[in-house]
Structure formats: structure tokens, C-alpha cells
């Protein structure tokens, strides 16, 4: 069997981590291609239901990344977001979701190297968790009757 | 056993954008299995559930007349999840229609009578079907004088222009088409439907009125008909409630003991007067 390639949904702030990903690209820093990026105007926009939706649909991991505290383009969006993350992180960990499946980071648009390192770290840890079989919706059983 | 939840597979044959804001589109469907067209035997005033795979179903009045063979027409207003998805589908796409559902306008009991048909906005669909059906050579001689009153916001919002322009040229139907506000280049009538009706309302004797439109239009049209002497049992209306199954089972379209989908959607005003106004 080939190695497990996880699917990770990444929510990046437009003003920092999204730029860092760009910079990593133009700097030819290679990183694993396992994540699908959703661009947010600010991590403050991140509603926990987005994260649940990703897991429900079978994401093996979710990665949220925004501006360093104090650097928010909207002054304090990430401070508010941080409080949400604290609760969300605790809640999911408490009910038994491996914390390696839900990762958070602060990466500025200049930190391409941190982006590369973090991307590798996220994917490596999700790989270690294995496929998400327990925290997702059941596959639709189509079991169509045979057509005569 | 015949499963009433199972839609007939159809192909979108054509899509016509009907209004300047593109919120109305008329879909022409062809049955994939020609036998299904015979099974889908309907009369004007009935509706069907348009079934978009993976999205859901919406109940829509049938805009074509059974006298038009080979296809069925539905005009869909874009409001919710299913209708928005449907608006983005393309000719050739495969979906389903389930029906016909509900009761038609009582064309049998109206035989021998004059009929005035009053349409507001895009509720004209099932009334367009009714007029096409009434004007068909097999049916026309069974009815008296036919009057068609139709109003919409602007010339662009008037649906089925080819049809009513053709009817205007005939002498076996009186056609009055109006827009609500004057616009350059419009030579027809101007004014809300009740006002137009007041002007031209045919005498009540041996005449039935069929009204379809948004609640406000229905409400304001009734006094005009009362004034002209129409009795509640001769005022026929079509209700629109939220529906899911269309079979009188799932329960959400109840108006009193009646299920709008199974027992309606066509009711006389006399019937509605005995029911709670929950529509």
C-alpha cells in the first residue's frame, strides 16, 4: 500500500501567512502539497463551523494560520480569534480529537522559512495520526439497485 | 409498485432568461423515456416537483399546456438553494420531474361558462397553460367568452410575450396586458391589475374568475370582483405553500384540514373562507 497522503484544509490570513506561502513559492522552498488553502481576510473571520465542516467532510487535518499578535491588519482581529482558538483547541482535544489534527500558527508574510517548516510539521503530524476515520461524517452509502 | 417519490428523468432542452434581472428563467424539459410523457398526464393548474440531484426539489406550476406535445415548461424564480442551482444548469443536463401533483383548475365544471383569467407577475405560468388549453380547437367551443388580464412590473418582466401577442390578434379571446408604471415605447395599458380589471371587468353572470399572483395582488383583486357581482364560489385561486412531498403526507402545506399539495393548490374563495388564512 502506498504511503498515506493526508488531506489538510488550511485557513490562511490574506495579510500574512497567505503571503508567506507565496514567498515560499517564489523562493523555491519546497513543502508538502497536501493542503488546500482557504484564504481569509483575517483569522478573526474564522468561524468554528468552518473547521467542523472540514472535518465533517473528511479532512484529515486543519491548519489555521494568521498574523503574529500585535500585527493584525485590522488591529485586533487575531487577538479575538486567539480566544476562540483557545476554546476550540481545548474543546476538541478534550472530546478526544488528536490535537495534531488541528494546528494553529502565526506566520508573517516575510517568514517563508517558518511557513516551510510549519507546513512540513503539520503534514508530518497528520500523517502520524493516520486517516481521519472517527471524526467525520459516514460515507454516503449509495448502494444503488442494479438496473435491469 | 409505483413509487410517487421517484422523479421521471428529463433533459433540459432549452432555457430562456425571462426578466432583465435574470431572476426568472423558463426551462423546457424533454422526457428521456417517451413513455414517461404519457404517464405524466396533466391539466392546466397542476404542478410538479423539479428534482435537482443532490440539491433537492421545488414545487413549480406547469407553464405548458398538455396540448403542447413533446415537452413541458416551467418558469422558475431564483430564491433558494435549489432554484439557484437550477438557474446555473445548462441545456443537455439531466435532472428529474415528479408529478403531476395537485388538482388542476376545474376546466370540466367551467364548461359552458365565460372565464376571466387574471394574472399578476410571474404567477402567469399556470394561467398561460390554461389559456393555451382553452384556445385549443378541441376545447375552445366548450367555453363562452374568455378574457385574459395580465400585469407585470415592466415590459421586460412580462413573460410569454409571443403567446399573448398572438392571442391579441385573435377574436375569440380579449387580452389586456398592462405594466405598473409608464415606460417609453410602451403603448399598452398602464396600472396595477385591479385597476385594469375594474376598467374592463366582464359581467359576473355565468362567469368564473381564475386569479393567480402574489398575496397582495390576490387581496386587492377580490374587491373588484365582488363589486362586479362575482360570488365566492366563482372565484378560483391557486395557493402557494411550502411543500416537500407533494403527496399530502409530509404535512407542511396544511391549511386547516386541507393539504395544499394534494387537495389544492386550486381552491374557490368559498372554500378558503372556511379555512384559516395560513397561506
Amino acid at each position: 500500500m502506498s504511503e498515506f497522503e493526508p488531506k489538510v484544509v488550511a485557513f490562511f490570513c490574506n495579510w500574512c501567512t497567505y503571503g508567506a506561502a507565496d514567498l515560499a513559492g517564489v523562493s523555491r522552498l519546497d513543502y508538502p502539497p497536501n493542503f488546500r488553502v482557504v484564504r481569509l481576510p483575517c483569522t478573526g473571520r474564522l468561524n468554528p463551523k468552518f473547521i467542523m465542516e472540514a472535518f465533517k467532510r473528511g479532512a484529515d487535518g486543519v491548519w489555521v494560520s494568521g498574523c503574529h499578535p500585535g500585527d493584525c491588519h485590522y488591529i485586533a482581529g487575531n487577538y479575538y480569534a486567539r480566544r476562540k482558538f483557545i476554546l476550540l483547541h481545548t474543546l476538541l482535544e478534550s472530546i478526544g480529537v488528536d490535537p495534531n489534527r488541528l494546528r494553529f500558527s502565526w506566520i508573517s508574510s516575510a517568514e517563508a522559512n517558518k511557513f516551510q517548516a510549519m507546513a512540513r510539521d503539520v503534514i508530518e503530524h497528520v500523517k502520524a495520526c493516520g486517516p481521519n476515520l472517527t471524526f467525520r461524517k459516514a460515507e454516503l452509502q449509495l448502494d444503488l439497485p442494479e438496473v435491469a | 409498485m409505483n413509487n410517487p417519490y421517484l422523479p421521471y428523468p428529463v433533459r433540459i432542452a432549452d432555457i430562456v432568461v425571462d426578466s432583465p434581472d435574470k431572476s426568472l428563467r423558463t426551462f423546457k424539459f424533454e422526457f428521456l423515456d417517451p413513455e414517461d410523457e404519457n404517464r405524466f398526464a396533466y391539466l392546466p393548474g397542476q404542478f410538479a416537483e423539479l428534482s435537482v440531484p443532490g440539491q433537492g426539489e421545488i414545487p413549480i406550476g406547469i407553464a405548458s399546456s398538455p396540448t403542447e406535445k413533446g415537452y413541458v415548461l416551467f418558469t422558475v424564480n431564483r430564491v433558494g438553494q435549489v432554484s439557484s442551482f437550477l438557474h446555473n444548469m445548462k441545456p443537455g443536463d439531466i435532472m428529474g420531474i415528479r408529478g403531476p401533483l395537485g388538482h388542476p383548475y376545474p376546466v370540466d365544471t367551467l364548461k359552458g361558462k365565460n372565464i376571466v383569467i387574471i394574472a399578476s407577475g410571474f404567477a402567469v405560468t399556470t394561467l398561460r397553460a390554461t389559456v393555451v388549453w382553452l384556445l385549443h380547437p378541441d376545447n375552445r367551443s366548450n367555453y363562452g367568452r374568455i378574457t385574459f388580464v395580465y400585469g407585470a412590473r415592466s415590459p421586460g418582466h412580462l413573460l410569454f410575450r409571443e403567446d399573448w401577442e398572438a392571442w391579441q390578434k385573435r377574436d375569440d379571446i380579449d387580452v389586456f396586458v398592462a405594466i405598473y408604471k409608464p415606460v417609453d415605447g410602451w403603448t399598452g395599458k398602464v396600472g396595477f391589475v385591479p385597476a385594469v380589471l375594474q376598467e374592463i371587468c366582464p359581467p359576473a353572470e355565468n362567469t368564473a374568475a381564475i386569479i393567480c399572483g402574489p398575496p397582495i395582488a390576490i387581496k386587492t383583486t377580490q374587491p373588484v370582483l365582488f363589486e362586479a357581482g362575482y360570488k365566492p364560489e366563482n372565484i378560483i385561486m391557486s395557493l402557494e405553500n411550502r411543500m416537500k412531498c407533494g403527496l399530502g403526507i409530509c404535512g407542511r402545506c396544511n391549511v386547516g384540514p386541507e393539504y395544499v399539495c394534494k387537495d389544492g393548490p386550486v381552491f374557490t374563495l368559498a372554500q378558503l373562507n372556511e379555512l384559516p388564512p395560513e397561506y
Binding site: D143 | V79, I94, G96, L275
Partner: protein
């Protein structure tokens, strides 16, 4: 139809005989945990008041798949919905309370109405033999007799059983029920007068509630315009617990779920206590507030269904909504208010 006896020492064999070519569901557990379950014939309990949920879920599960389509299927067409069929298996339910059996009759008239037949309901309903268990000691919150039923009611049942000397008394009610009991070693016996006595006692234990009759005499619009609806509705939380537990409530929502390979169409229980239930796509809502919604529920149970079903009420007096409602909106008190409505 004749009566039969099953003695205490023959009880386990009797249940084993019932399962010969069908599965057996009986109530298991007490109180909140009492539910209809597939049962080991040696462990059938006769000691319970009511199942926690009504038995409608055996015929109309909370979530039921109806149709499915595949985007890939090329026969006959991709995206064409196909019937998943009715997967009903031959079943016998032992221990339906007479109120719940009547509830199934009311729902059956909706699922198999004057114009359409619901194949998913019909399959399960017709493949299930229903053995009722009469109530010798109705619960204090029961009022089946006031709703036109009886603790020994027979509607909707194939066989009516009752506990008798740690065994059972049986009365067969349909040909199918008679045939079923004939396959067992139940002994014939004459129980007519015993049943009549027990029924009388059980009805007397409930005490009379007579205001339901007055509702029949009021017109729809008189009851609809009654002044008490806003105060009746005021404590309502709008949760719909009453509808989910009701043996006659049958409303559902149809939903599609899809992925990249295809999708299914399913139905899920829905409740008229929710504002979304009737809300149009345009935002217009014929029942915009809980006053209209509460009125709808009680009018439907006590007025609309009797009109459509020859006087049979949509409430069978099982008492579940009375006990479960967190705000204590009690159908008996509401009916009393409706009965007081003045004729116009």
C-alpha cells in the same frame, strides 16, 4: 375471533414460536430506557408502562433513505434518481399499547391517503403483525378512553394480549392474527367476560375527560379565533418534543445529500413547532409565531384530523407529550380551553 391462553411455563416457548420466520420486537427496559427491540424470546418483559418513544419509528424511522443517484452510472443515465426500495422484513411486534396501535392507524391513513401510497411506510406496515398488550394499570398521565380508545382497544392490532396469571390471555382480531396464533401452542379458552371486566376497571381508573366532545361541535374558524391561543403558546419553547414523541405525528422533511460520486434523497422527522417548517423561500411565513404554530398542532390533532378521518382524533391519549413537554403545555388543559370556545 376466538380467545387463547398462554400459561406461565409456556410463555418462553410461545415467543419462540412467534419468531419462527420473522423477527420479534418487544419493549425492553423501563421508563426512559423502554424501547422496542429485537428480543431474545426467553427475555420478554410484560412489566412496562409505555415505550419511551412511540412505535412509529418502526415504520417511519427518524431518518430514512428513499432514493439514490450516481454521477457515474451510465445505465440508464447519470444523475438519475433510483428507488432504494423498501427493505422491510417480516416482523411481529409484541407489546404495542392500544393507544400506540391507534396512532399507527391515524398515520396509516395519511401515508396511504385517498390519492397516494407511500411505499416505504406501506412495506413495513404490511409486513408487520401487531400484537397489542392491554393496560391493566394505565399510567396517571394516560387518557386513551377520553380520546375514543380504550386500555383494551383493538384498532390497528392483529392480536390483543393481556397479562394473566403471569402468562397471557389472547384475543385474535384479524385473520392474520388468528393464523399467527394458530402456529403456536396457545390453548383456546373463553375469556370474553374476563376481558370485559378488566377493560371496565382500567377505564374507570383513568377517570373521565369529556371536553373533547364539545370541540367536535365547534366550527374550524370558531376554534381558530378562540382568544386563548396566545396565552397557551406563551410558555412554549418551540422544541417539538411533543411532535417527535407523538404516535400520530408524521411530518417530515426531504433532504438531499451528495458527494463527488453521487447522492441520496432521504426524509427526516420534522416538526410544525419550528418556524422554518412553513417558511417560504421568499421569507413569507404563513405561521410566523409560536401562537400560530401551537394552534396548528392542537387544531390538527383535535379538529383537522377528525374532519379528514371520520371523527377519529389525532391524539390517542398516550400521554407522552403531557409528560415530556418541558413547559408543561398539557393537551388536556388546552382541549378544555378549546371546548369553552363560544359558538359565534
Amino acid at each position: 375471533m376466538p380467545e387463547y391462553l398462554v400459561k406461565e411455563n409456556a410463555l418462553a416457548d410461545f415467543f419462540r414460536e412467534l419468531t419462527q420466520d420473522r423477527r420479534l420486537l418487544t419493549p425492553q427496559g423501563q421508563g426512559e430506557n423502554c424501547r422496542l427491540e429485537e428480543t431474545d424470546p426467553s427475555k420478554v418483559s410484560l412489566e412496562y408502562t409505555n415505550t419511551h418513544k412511540s412505535p412509529k419509528e418502526c415504520f417511519f424511522p427518524q431518518t430514512e433513505k428513499l432514493l439514490a443517484f450516481s454521477k457515474e452510472a451510465d445505465k440508464p443515465h447519470p444523475n438519475e434518481y433510483r428507488d432504494l426500495g423498501d427493505k422491510a422484513v417480516a416482523t411481529v411486534i409484541f407489546g404495542l399499547r392500544p393507544c400506540d396501535a391507534r396512532g399507527l392507524c391515524v398515520a396509516d391513513k395519511v401515508f396511504q391517503n385517498d390519492r397516494f401510497t407511500d411505499p416505504y411506510w406501506k412495506g413495513k406496515y404490511e409486513k408487520t403483525l401487531k400484537i397489542g398488550l392491554a393496560c391493566l394499570n394505565p399510567s396517571p398521565q394516560c387518557f386513551c378512553a377520553a380520546m375514543g380508545g380504550s386500555p383494551f382497544g383493538e384498532a390497528g392490532l392483529d392480536v390483543l394480549a393481556y397479562p394473566r396469571d403471569k402468562g397471557l390471555g389472547l384475543k385474535t382480531l384479524t385473520e392474520a392474527g388468528e393464523a399467527l396464533i394458530k402456529t403456536t401452542k396457545a390453548e383456546p379458552g373463553d375469556l370474553k367476560s374476563e376481558i370485559a371486566d378488566l377493560e371496565k376497571k382500567a377505564i374507570e381508573a383513568q377517570g373521565p375527560i369529556d371536553h373533547f366532545v364539545a370541540i367536535n361541535e365547534r366550527k374550524i374558524m370558531e376554534l381558530y379565533k378562540a382568544p386563548h391561543w396566545p396565552t397557551t403558546a406563551e410558555p412554549c419553547l418551540g422544541c417539538g418534543v411533543c411532535t417527535f414523541f407523538c404516535p400520530t405525528c408524521h411530518c417530515f422533511d426531504i433532504q438531499d445529500e451528495a458527494n463527488e460520486r453521487g447522492g441520496i434523497r432521504m426524509r427526516n422527522w420534522d416538526t410544525c413547532m419550528s418556524a422554518l417548517f412553513t417558511q417560504h423561500g421568499s421569507g413569507h411565513n404563513p405561521r410566523p409565531s409560536k401562537t400560530e404554530r401551537i394552534r396548528q398542532r392542537f387544531m390538527h390533532k383535535l379538529k383537522y384530523i377528525p374532519i379528514k378521518q371520520d371523527g377519529v382524533r389525532g391524539c390517542t391519549g398516550c400521554g407522552r407529550c403531557v409528560v415530556m413537554c418541558p413547559a408543561n403545555i398539557d393537551i388536556r388543559s388546552v382541549a378544555a380551553l378549546m371546548a369553552q370556545t363560544q359558538a359565534s
